[in-house]
């Protein structure tokens, strides 16, 4: 029983990581740093609240959330690809922009500086927090399949091959006729929509949007992307591992076995260790973050 509850809780926490992690893989494999995942998620969460509140339908909420994420990703792509702006600066700016915009429109639309009114979600009132609640939420299934599908797309489709090519060696890709920029635009917008779904899940699951509700989850997804060495299967395992650690922390709360702050550090410390290559170096896509200096 306890093991099942643990598993259900882990899955519940892992879904946003899996969705944003899929976005992280897509963006970084195409050569654009995934610092913006946090912003996509927060934008997606806000879009879900706006859409679901306006129509009463969580499906519309999910669609609006994905559109918001896609638009933010497009903004990032245009700055980085068309105007050749620095990806780190732009990424940080977009995250700040989403925090500001969601706060501003929270005041404008719902006259609150902290949260939206109650948002309809996918669950039923009697479904509780176990596996039943998870199983009837379509976003759980999307989340579980996201990295599997991304793995298939990257490994088995022509589009995936192009994405990997522009992330590793854009010049070579261009020389064989791949439209480098178009491929990157597509990958980044897809990454924005996937990560936004992670935020959509949070808002619908918690039945409201709250200021900065993603609380660094986008960076945990980025950590999982790197710790999973940019390979969808490994990234999925990293997401589940990080979610498992978080569940453990929640279960241990109050027992004083390990302070919660030390569990919070796990994803970040593991990622730093992985980058330093102490246990098998994580080697990023070769063209990641490179400015296409004309």
């Amino acid at each position: 029983m306890i093991a099942l509850a643990f598993l259900a809780q882990t899955l519940r926490i892992a879904i946003p990581y899996l969705l944003a992690g899929a976005g992280g893989v897509m963006s970084e494999r195409a050569g654009l740093i995934g610092l913006t995942l946090e912003g996509y998620m927060l934008g997606g969460a806000f879009g879900a609240a706006v859409g679901a509140l306006a129509t009463g339908s969580p499906v519309v909420g999910a669609v609006v959330g994905m559109i918001f994420g896609g638009l933010l990703a497009l903004l990032y792509a245009v700055s980085a690809l068309k105007f050749k702006a620095n990806q780190v600066v732009t990424g940080v700016a977009i995250n700040l922009l989403v925090v500001g915009l969601t706060r501003f429109f929270l005041r404008l639309l719902y006259d609150s500086s902290s949260n939206s009114p109650r948002v309809p979600g996918f669950g039923r009132a009697d479904s509780g927090s176990g596996f039943t609640a998870l199983a009837i939420n379509p976003l759980v299934w999307v989340g579980l399949l996201a990295l599997v599908v991304i793995g298939w797309v990257l490994g088995r489709t022509a589009f995936g091959l192009r994405v990997r090519a522009v992330g590793e060696h854009p010049e070579a890709a261009a020389s064989v006729g791949v439209n480098v920029d178009r491929t990157r635009y597509a990958a980044v917008v897809l990454s924005g929509m996937l990560a936004a779904l992670g935020g959509v899940y949070l808002a619908l699951d918690q039945h409201q949007f709250t200021d900065q509700m993603t609380a660094g989850r986008g960076f945990i997804a980025l950590a999982a992307t790197i710790f999973g060495r940019w390979e969808p299967k490994r990234v999925a395992i990293a997401c589940l591992l990080f979610a498992g650690a978080e569940t453990l922390q929640i279960q241990l709360q109050g027992t004083q076995v390990i302070p919660s702050q030390f569990v919070e550090m796990i994803p970040y410390v593991l990622t730093i260790v992985a980058l330093a290559g102490v246990v098998g170096r994580a080697v990023p896509p070769a063209a990641l973050g490179r400015e296409e200096s004309a």
Binding site: V88, G100, P170, G216, I272, G277, E292
Partner: protein, 386 residues
């Protein structure tokens, strides 16, 4: 010497290349970022204000009145600009070395924390100047250690500093959060007890007109630090090596410079600059370390460095600009949500990062760029990547 990881994000950070350029266009280039920033802020600000059904003129008047219109407002702007000067200098020093330090939040917090610990450890009878000096050294050391870790990882393993610095933010903040909550906090609060000695004089103690504002003499330390960074970068051998590594790491290495050593020293120094900023809050304002005091100031340092074009003087000006926006948000809150300012700050960064390279390119319409664009057109099949 380059490991695969070292090649990642070899994006030359903004503002590094133009220094080698012609002096003629340099004034225009220097003025470009702040002008772009102001124009974009006004346009986007107008849209947001009109969305909220207010008159832009009234809001801007309120913003100016609440910041530069009275001594209290000026004091608050100066206080906020002081912290931003330190975090801006930290980012700029990194960029001069070709490194992106986005760990300012954690370094600033670590600096403030160590300053508070030293202030707590010293007896109240310690001479004020000695105590303040020791606390400041502690702040620099705290930030410096946090900066040195990614510096070492970059130099030794090629781990990219963009990711390690941002990940370290979370680690440092969690660690400090644990120490404060489990060991030394004042009950019912998220802060430490007040320091016994090391407090810095408030501006209001010298000029009573500033009464109530948090501005303190740390602002002189910030100005002196900006001067020192300028001297270090442009007048010392170490500074020359640092800039050489930032501009052309391969050439610098060929010229006999220890690139790895320069990189980790630069990140440690960058962290120390951000950490020193912690004294503004701890010694000058609250006299204790409080969880979350660094929130936002670290990331805004990136904006300050960008708009200030990584020059120490430009950074002081840019810090004043962003501090005015921050304080102005509070002033206009009666008419429009203060959150408008968060949007404006982000839009300014985005606009400067996006527009300035584009405009700069068009300013330098030399034969080279014409030739380059011709080449680009002929190779346009590949979508113009390189």
């Amino acid at each position: 010497m380059t490991t695969p990881v070292a090649e990642v994000v070899n994006a030359a950070p903004p503002g590094v290349q133009p220094e080698a350029g012609a002096r003629g266009a340099s004034l225009m280039e220097a003025l470009l970022p702040p002008v772009v920033a102001l124009l974009v802020a006004i346009v986007v600000g107008d849209v947001l204000i009109l969305t909220f059904g207010q008159s832009p003129a009234a809001v801007y008047r309120l913003l100016l009145d609440g910041t530069w219109g009275n001594a209290y407002g000026i004091g608050q702007v100066l206080y906020k600009a002081t912290t931003l000067t330190f975090t801006g200098l930290a980012v700029a020093l990194g960029i001069r070395a070709g490194l992106f330090n986005i760990g300012g939040e954690g370094q600033l917090a670590a600096g403030g924390f160590l300053a508070a610990m030293i202030g707590l450890a010293m007896p109240a009878a310690t001479p004020a100047i000695v105590a303040a000096l020791l606390c400041t050294i502690g702040a620099a050391a705290g930030g410096g250690v946090v900066g040195a870790v990614p510096g070492y990882l970059r130099a030794r393993f090629g781990a990219h500093e963009v990711i390690t610095t941002i990940m370290l933010n979370f680690v440092v903040l969690a660690l400090l959060g644990w120490i404060v909550s489990a060991k030394i906090h004042v009950p019912e609060s998220l802060h430490t007890p007040e320091i016994h000695s090391g407090g810095v004089t408030r501006l209001a103690d010298i000029m009573p007109i500033f009464h109530g504002s948090a501005a303190n003499l740390t602002l002189l330390v910030a100005l002196a630090t900006a001067g020192a960074v300028s001297w270090y970068l442009f007048r010392t051998r170490r500074g020359f090596e640092l800039r050489a590594v930032g501009l052309q790491p391969d050439a610098a290495e060929y010229g006999g410079i220890d690139v790895g050593g320069v990189r980790w020293r630069a990140l440690a120094l960058s962290g120390a600059l951000a950490g020193t900023g912690g004294i503004n809050f701890v010694l000058g304002y609250k006299h204790y370390y409080e969880e979350g005091f660094a929130t936002g100031a670290g990331f805004l340092g990136i904006a300050v460095a960008l708009v200030g074009r990584n020059s120490p003087f430009g950074i002081v000006i840019a810090a004043l600009l962003f501090a005015t926006l921050s304080q102005g948000g509070l002033a206009v809150n009666a008419l429009v949500p203060k959150q408008m300012v968060d949007v404006l700050q982000a839009v300014v960064i985005l606009a400067v990062a996006t527009a300035v390279p584009a405009v700069r390119q068009s300013i330098r319409s030399s034969a080279k760029s014409v030739a380059r664009s011709l080449m680009q057109k002929t190779g346009a099949a590949g979508g113009g990547s390189r």
